[in-house]
């Protein structure tokens, strides 16, 4: 047999890390050039960021950023990029890229706002709101992927939750609609679990199918039934509840403590999920099922039931997230109104290394991109609105391809388990 040469594992890892560092370095240098040439601001101009609104309890002065900021940002980016390229390695790679992207975004904001003013608090509030469906979608993804079930169906579950929220919200009022949305999401979770665990369907196909089915069903009912009976598509919206005292803190107050139930719910669910997955026996068993189902099975964990349970819970979380689109936002269901946010939630999950808090952080970043796109359209930037609308999707691709590289999903992800 001819000799097949393979690198030793250590060499392979080292060369892969070096390559990733070079790619990161290249990206940073590219971004630096971008900031320098495309986002240049005359040193004399200033960007004004409003930090509070006139009615707030404590009024902060506006943040005035001089135009020179962008030049400094470009220099920093170049420095980080060159450093990565030449030395690279380890945690600095992700950190540099994170810092770099933050710098680019800040430079972009300064460039877009130069000579005008921009409400930073409003933007942060919008970020939080727009991050909710993505965070909940990502959390649903975490819950199911931790038991090694790839869940492409999050988009469908979100859509189902939105639809049920609108329909049942019109019939039963806001709370009734919310409860039904959660239950319907759970039902689709159970269907996914059945298709994947009991009928051993390919997990990705099962997810795609549920998405297609929900899209078809909701569109069908919308055009067939809602068009005639408009009262069925007219739910009340949950208003914001301001938490006293905490809600008055400048900048953070309106962002975190003056939101509606969906934001609070998302934050609470992330905390609960983190505690459950990493600090309880049940969570440990679930993660064992995801990493090595055979071993968990021999120790007495019911793999099938665990998968069913967690995928159903994921569905419930996604149903809650879906209800945000209607009960937390416009009160009306439109065909295909989730617009790909379920998939962005999956990306948030990958970005967050399959951890609830990570998924939330990633969702905040995506929410930021989403609300940025809207605000910038208002600011009349030279960039066409269609390209701004693409920003979250491009960000997702970058996340899934660039930053992540070697993130490790649960070991048994995607493989059906057959009990012997």
């Amino acid at each position: 047999m001819s000799a097949v040469t393979t690198d030793t594992s250590a060499e392979k890892i080292a060369s892969a890390k070096a390559r990733q560092a070079r790619i990161t370095g290249g990206i940073l240098i590219g971004l630096s050039l971008l900031v320098l040439f495309l986002l240049d601001v005359a040193a004399s101009e200033v960007a004004t960021f409003k930090l509070s609104r006139p009615r707030d309890a404590w009024v902060l002065p506006d943040l005035v950023v001089p135009g020179a900021f962008n030049t400094i940002a470009a220099a920093l980016l170049a420095f980080l990029g060159v450093r990565q390229f030449l030395r690279g390695g380890g945690r600095w790679t992700s950190l540099s890229l994170g810092i770099g992207i933050a710098l680019v975004i800040m430079a972009f904001l300064v460039w877009a706002t130069a000579g005008k003013s921009f409400s930073l608090t409003g933007m942060l509030q919008a970020t939080m709101v727009r991050a909710v469906p993505i965070a909940l979608g990502g959390l649903a993804g975490v819950l199911s992927e931790r038991v090694a079930v790839i869940n492409i169906a999050i988009e469908g579950m979100l859509l189902a939750g939105a639809f049920t929220g609108a329909l049942m919200g019109s019939l039963l009022g806001g709370w009734g609609g919310l409860v039904m949305a959660v239950l319907v999401g759970g039902m689709f979770g159970m269907i996914l679990a059945a298709l994947v665990v009991t009928f051993r369907m390919d997990q990705i196909i099962a997810g795609v199918v549920i998405n297609l089915f929900v899209l078809g069903l909701t569109s069908y009912v919308t055009s067939q039934v809602f068009a005639e009976h408009r009262y069925l598509n007219n739910a009340e919206i949950f208003r914001s509840w301001k938490i006293p005292i905490l809600g008055d803190i400048p900048v953070l107050g309106p962002t975190l403590f003056n939101q509606n139930i969906f934001v609070y719910g998302a934050l609470i669910l992330v905390a609960v999920a983190t505690y459950y997955l990493f600090h309880t026996k049940g969570g440990l068993r679930a993660r064992a099922v995801g990493e090595h189902p055979r071993a968990a099975d021999t120790l007495g964990v019911d793999v099938y039931f665990t998968r069913y349970l967690h995928v159903t819970m994921a569905g419930m979380v996604a149903g809650f997230g879906g209800a945000w689109f209607t009960l937390g936002s416009v009160g009306r269901f439109d065909e295909n109104m989730t617009g790909g946010r379920g998939f962005i939630g999956l990306a948030a999950m990958i970005f967050g290394r399959w951890h609830p808090v990570g998924a939330l952080s990633a969702a905040l970043i995506f929410g930021f991109a989403d609300s940025l796109q809207q605000k910038l359209a208002l600011l009349n930037t030279p960039i066409p609105s269609e390209f701004l609308a693409m920003a979250p999707y491009i960000a997702t691709i970058i996340v899934v391809a660039g930053l992540i590289g070697k993130a490790r999903p649960p070991a048994a992800d995607g493989k059906p388990y057959v009990k012997e």
Partner: protein, 382 residues
């Protein structure tokens, strides 16, 4: 008189014949019975859903009659079925190729859109070129643009390991916005219109209607030849060429394929590019044969229907051809159903999704229809 024994022999012979005729793996049940039962089950469930949304029984009956009549009840219906099948089969071939190589190309919709748009742009840019040249140029451009767009996802997967399901879905969403932007550019937008619609494909660039001389309403166009050629080409590529073997090997066992010397990165990019080319060709043929121009969302979910198609056809070119004709029939019949019985065409989407469920979960179909299947021997494939 045939008694039970003789019938069994006939049955066995038939099975053996079909097993020989069916390339690749898959026994008689998987290839034939499961799809048939799947379609039947899906139609039944579709009727149940209609009942649940308040459609009364006579109307349901009317809908199914309209479905049948609209798909093959007249020459016009057959023409419509085939016309609808053309882009579906082309895109489905691309998807089936991807599946064979182990890749989930959910991005067919975006590749279709961009391929079709590219075809429109190139044809109205060179209106002076004569008939077959301009038309072929359009088709070629569509295929190339589709291939290029798909290889973005392929390259990302090959170099960074990014999962192609997410990247292709994101590329889809990007392509929708990109199309809106492109259709607003003065060079491309139709003169005198403020809505995003492109200039028309000139006559020399269109795929000619085949049955025009018989009845000007028949829309069947030369794209049907493109479709048939593509079926043959993909069959040849997958089962008779070296690179097709590399695709199938990588799809079946990527590690073994790499050990045997096949460059997995190259295979991924090549497979995605070919799949994208077929999807782009689908878009081009739709634009040059039916629509005559590009507008937002002209793909009308064809890319997603193609996923169902490829699965129904078991990722085999001939299977995909038949599945495409079935789906074309569902679409033509669905339009008739909407007109005759007033039932929204979205129902067809539901039926298609149900078909995939039943196709991809043979265990599910067996659970529902225990008859029609041989008793499963121990150790049957899961």
């Amino acid at each position: 008189m045939t008694d039970g024994k003789d019938l069994k022999h006939v049955n066995e012979d038939l099975r053996k014949l079909l097993a020989r005729a069916a390339f690749g793996r898959g026994n008689f049940e998987d290839l034939f019975i499961v799809p048939v039962f799947a379609v039947v089950a899906a139609l039944v469930l579709g009727a149940v859903i209609m009942l649940a949304t308040g459609v009364d029984l006579p109307t349901i009956g009317q809908s199914f009659v309209a479905l049948a009549v609209g798909s093959f009840g007249s020459l016009n219906a057959v023409s419509e079925t085939l016309t609808a099948a053309i882009p579906l089969v082309l895109a489905g071939l691309g998807l089936g190729l991807g599946f064979r190589a182990g890749l989930f190309n959910i991005g067919a919709e975006g590749q279709l859109l961009l391929g079709g748009t590219a075809a429109v742009i190139i044809t109205f840019t060179f209106p002076s070129l004569p008939f077959p040249v301009l038309m072929l140029l359009g088709l070629l451009t569509g295929a190339l643009v589709g291939a290029a767009y798909a290889s973005i996802a392929g390259i990302l997967k090959a170099t960074t390991g990014a999962h192609e399901v997410i990247t292709t879905i994101m590329l889809n969403l990007i392509s929708f916005r990109l199309l809106e932007y492109i259709l607003r550019q003065p060079y491309i937008q139709r003169e005198g219109r403020s809505d995003p619609i492109s200039k028309s494909v000139p006559e020399a660039g269109q795929l000619p209607r085949l049955l025009d001389w018989f009845d000007p309403n028949l829309r069947l166009h030369a794209g049907v030849f493109v479709m048939l050629l593509a079926v043959v080409f993909v069959w040849w590529l997958l089962f008779r060429s070296k690179i097709g073997f590399a695709f199938r090997a990588s799809g079946a066992n990527p590690d073994a394929a790499r050990y045997a010397g096949m460059r997995s990165g190259l295979v991924i990019v090549a497979a995605m590019a070919t799949a994208g080319a077929l999807a782009g060709l689908a878009g081009a043929s739709q634009v040059q044969g039916v629509l005559g121009r590009a507008s937002p969302g002209f793909s009308a979910q064809m890319g997603f229907d193609a996923i169902a198609l490829a699965l129904l056809g078991r990722s085999h070119p001939v299977g995909i051809l038949f599945a495409g004709i079935l789906f074309g029939g569902l679409e033509a019949g669905g339009r008739q159903m909407q007109v005759d019985a007033g039932v929204s065409i979205d129902l067809i989407g539901i039926i298609q999704a149900l078909i995939i469920v039943f196709i991809a979960a043979p265990l599910l179909v067996r659970a529902i229809f225990p008859w029609g299947f041989r008793k499963e021997t121990k150790g049957g494939k899961a």
